[in-house]
């Protein structure tokens, strides 16, 4: 038996989450088969999935599947799983894989868990997987016992590493039905954010403590030095200082970066809900009693307007030294 991994792609290229899904699948202890759908300009990137643990890569490049339609992709993947005899199907819990997974699960009458953020286990033939629930306030473990099981993995849960070598890419001819295209993506509107929040390795977020939109350049400068994405608390978003696409928390984005830097953010439970699983949390806040310090690994107690520019300059110097 093998595991089927769907490779996220957009604008003709594989996404970072595709690599992560393959890396996660290798932990299931079965042969890993990767599947890409739609246009992929750099075909070498498909072959390179072998380096990250796939032993075969299939590509379905049907003309109609060039634009994203979650129903069509789900139909095609469910058919592929049957054809290739894969009983476990792994997706990234992204805006791509995450919306295909449930649909594929219904088609396969499968066990299903979304947004997993711990490594899987197999016990007595059952797939044991876990995730944070109650917005980060607890963890839960589930067992999946379907003939087929479908899972989606939260971005940044595993770090892909190169262990193998490139493999052959084979074309698979499977197409979707007419009714699978009743909802289709027509266009993509880019935001000005250089790095997408949910995929970012480092995030610098600002809150009400930044006092106004005109001061967010301090956050942006710090983010720039670190190659980080910029986030915000709801207070900053509700005040109209930042777009909602940057909101982290219960009613914003859930992120899990390697490092999360919270500046002028108190650490309300609804904010922690969105970033509590970050690997390293750094707080910059003038109030030593702020709840953010209860979850922070490192921090500076002080005025953001003094600390952030000093930190940005010092990091610039540090980066120059190590490069």
């Amino acid at each position: 038996m093998s595991v089927l991994v769907y490779l996220d792609s957009a604008n003709g290229a594989l996404r970072k989450t595709a690599y992560e899904a393959v890396a996660y699948a290798t932990h299931l202890g079965q042969e890993v088969i990767a599947l890409a759908i739609g246009n992929i300009e750099n075909t070498q990137s498909l072959a390179d999935m072998g380096k990250y643990g796939a032993s075969k890569v299939y590509h379905i490049n049907d003309e109609k599947l060039k634009t994203f339609a979650n129903a069509a992709y789900a139909s095609v993947i469910a058919q592929a799983a049957k054809e290739l005899n894969c009983k476990t199907i792994v997706f990234s819990a992204s805006s791509i894989g995450g919306v295909i997974a449930p649909r594929a699960a219904v088609k396969l009458n499968a066990g299903l868990l979304s947004d997993i953020n711990v490594l899987p286990k197999v016990e007595n033939g059952q797939l044991i997987v876990g995730k944070t629930v109650f917005s980060g306030k607890a963890n839960a473990t589930f067992s999946l016992s379907g003939e087929y099981n479908v899972i989606s993995v939260r971005p940044n849960t595993v770090k892909p590493s190169e262990t193998g070598s490139p493999v052959n890419v084979e074309t698979l001819n499977i197409s979707a039905g007419e009714t699978d295209f009743r909802a289709v993506a027509e266009a993509i509107l880019k935001t000005s954010d250089k790095i997408s929040l949910t995929e970012a390795d480092i995030i610098v977020s600002g809150g009400r403590g930044m006092k106004g939109p005109e001061n967010f350049y301090l956050i942006e400068n710090l983010a720039e030095v670190l190659g980080a994405a910029v986030g915000a608390s709801r207070a900053a978003v509700d005040a109209g200082w930042r777009p909602h696409s940057q909101q982290v928390g219960q009613t914003g984005k859930t992120v899990s970066p390697t490092m999360y830097i919270a500046v002028g953010i108190s650490g309300a439970i609804q904010h922690l809900a969105g970033m509590g699983t970050s690997k390293v949390i750094v707080a910059i806040n003038k109030d030593p009693e702020a709840p953010i310090f209860k979850v922070a690994d490192y921090g500076i107690i002080g005025d953001a307007f003094e600390v952030v520019p000093a930190l940005t300059e010092a990091l610039k110097a540090y980066k120059q030294k190590i490069s």
């Binding site: 957009a10 996404r15 979650n70 129903a71 789900a74 805006s95 995450g98 919306v99 449930p102 699960a105 219904v106 088609k107 066990g111 299903l112 868990l113 979304s114 947004d115 944070t132 109650f134 306030k137 607890a138 963890n139 839960a140 589930f142 067992s143 999946l144 016992s145 003939e147 099981n149 009743r182 909802a183 993506a185 027509e186 993509i188 509107l189 880019k190 935001t191 954010d193 997408s196 995929e199 670190l226 909602h244 009613t251 914003g252 809900a273 509590g276 690997k279 949390i281 750094v282 707080a283 030593p288 922070a296 690994d297 921090g299 500076i300 107690i301 002080g302 600390v307 930190l311 010092a314």
Partner: protein, 251 residues
């Protein structure tokens, strides 16, 4: 237009969850349940849609025990016309979706609103499951919706931007903040809600190959390392950089 709004009742956002029965279930004692925030956004958009399309009706539907009726009345007070409660504990998304799809096949539908996710188990999948059971399209994380005739135009959030999606009706969507501003019911709404129909239906038997085994609370973090900037910002900054490079290895 037959507008459906799926509502889940979830623990208030400030709840500190504890568990019972070998940690397999949430201890509901003392927990305050609210309408899932995303369902409030849905409800707001649904009300505006109904009002713009005379002859339309909003049916709120929930899978939940009798205790959810308080929150269902709130949804009626915010402007929904009628409610259906499927009398069962919502075991998981797959179970809920099969129950809702079964009832919707009986009563009919044009637009089905769900939330982007419930803030209890954060699944973010129920809407898509309902759509698939009904064999109609689904669009996730929708921040704006325009309907004309048999077609909807939506914007949905994706990594690094937005996607414009065109869908035919009937359809299901998962709403995200932005699609509508939550309605705070007024006195008249609350009074009217008492007399609006709330029908209770019994669940159908279904088997789901997904089982929640156990919960645990996250391990408490060790005390962090904090540096005081007062007096010497430069020192604090240098110490932080030292820690991040040598211990945390994040820079």
């Amino acid at each position: 237009m037959k507008i459906i709004v799926c509502v889940s009742c979830v623990p208030d956002t400030t709840t500190k969850p504890t568990f019972i029965e070998n940690n397999s279930k949430l201890n509901e004692q003392g927990v305050q349940f609210i309408v899932n925030p995303y369902d409030e956004y849905s409800l707001a958009r649904a009300v505006a849609l109904r009002d713009a399309n005379p002859g339309s009706k909003i049916t709120v539907i929930t899978v939940g025990e009798a205790s959810t009726e308080q929150n269902i009345r709130k949804a009626l007070a915010a402007g929904a016309d009628e409610a259906i409660r499927i009398n069962a504990k919502p075991i998981n998304a797959q179970y809920v979706a099969k129950q809702i799809a079964h009832v919707l096949k009986e009563i009919g539908f044009d637009i089905i609103f769900t939330g982007k996710e419930s803030i209890d188990y954060n699944g973010g999948i129920t809407g898509n499951l309902i759509a698939t059971e009904l064999d109609i399209p689904y669009t996730h994380s929708v921040t704006s919706l325009e309907v004309s005739g048999n077609e909807a135009k939506m914007e949905r959030e994706i990594e690094g931007g937005k996607e414009v999606v065109k869908s035919s009706l009937p359809m299901v969507l998962g709403s995200q903040k932005g699609i509508g501003e939550p309605i705070i019911p007024n006195m008249m709404g609350i009074a009217k809600a008492r007399t609006k129909p709330l029908t209770v239906k019994e669940p159908i038997a279904v088997e789901i190959p997904t089982l929640l085994v156990t919960h645990e609370l996250p391990k408490p973090k060790g005390a962090g390392k904090f540096f005081k900037a007062e007096g010497n910002v430069q020192d604090a900054v240098n110490q932080l950089i030292e820690s991040l490079s040598k211990e945390a290895k994040t820079i």
